[in-house]
Symmetry: C2
Subunit: 146 residues, 2 copies
DNA sequence: TTAAGTGCAAAGGTTTTGCGAAACT
DNA sequence: AGTTTCGCAAAACCTTTGCACTTAA
């Protein structure tokens, strides 16, 4: 498991190699994504960025996020209408746990077995490139407060 | 596996028992959902409904879909920004296969093992209520045309 | 009869686009 | 120096809401 510093460097390298400019705004955004395991929304990232760059805009945040998604460095998660979150903590496909009460999102300690993916591919005729697993439930904190 | 006619009756019964009125618009929408395994969008459902009810509105479609989701008879899928689809073909949780080129969505011939779900629950402390599995790739048709 | 549902139109909220100004390489 | 990128504002888009009319039970 790579640490956050390495993750930051990885993403920056990828951007550079792909010919994208390393502007301060982008570097700050990448830092936020690599550092946090909070799976933030675009609005949350924007709010944090504003502390360093008071004049930055949501448009810039979205543009950079799209670049990172294209490069495969960030996953865009669609948890519902107006609940899009971005996961830059780990390049590899990994399941998420989502609390239906507080909307916390954390990485799940599991992987889908390769054999299951193969089975589905063979049975369906699809060429499977990636997958997405989400577990919905109550986080430990919200279970208490029920 | 229940057939489409049974599925239609099931959903209608659930609505009735829950005290919802069985209007012609609702029955027609339920019919579309039960009959098709196409995982349609709200707009697609609206377009089909208009053939029978030229004055119907998207608002009515959304309202009915929300009722059905609350009752657990329909699953709302969030595949991306402005790519929400509705699955009324099967009450039980089941994975989906999504073609990244033509955006076709079909049910995947597999289930997540209960033991995997249990493992995640124990390891995380979450009380898991449901889950969502999506495989992304190329459908047989789109593989040909590449 | 009457409370729930329909449908129109307008509002709401997130994401995208256009374009002149700024800045990275 | 030349493009990419920024950031503002406006547009676009889907979804939701308000409200008077209609209708299922």
């Amino acid at each position: 498991m790579t640490n956050n510093e390495d993750r930051y460097e990885d993403i920056v390298s990828t951007m550079q190699e792909a010919g994208y400019r390393l502007t301060p705004q982008r570097l700050a955004l990448v830092h936020l994504l690599a550092e946090s395991d909070q799976h933030p929304t675009a609005a949350q990232l924007y709010a944090e960025l504003q502390q360093q760059f008071p004049t930055t805009s949501l448009a810039t945040v979205y543009k950079t996020l799209h670049v990172l998604c294209e490069l495969g460095e960030v996953q865009e998660m669609h948890l519902g209408q107006d609940e899009h979150r971005y996961d830059g903590s780990d390049r590899t496909t990994h399941p998420h746990l989502i609390c239906i009460q507080c909307h916390e999102v954390v990485d799940a300690p599991a992987r889908l077995s390769a054999s299951l993916v193969d089975e589905v591919a063979v049975a369906s005729g699809y060429r499977i490139l990636t997958h997405n697993v989400e577990f919905f439930g109550l986080c430990p904190v919200c279970q208490e407060s029920t």
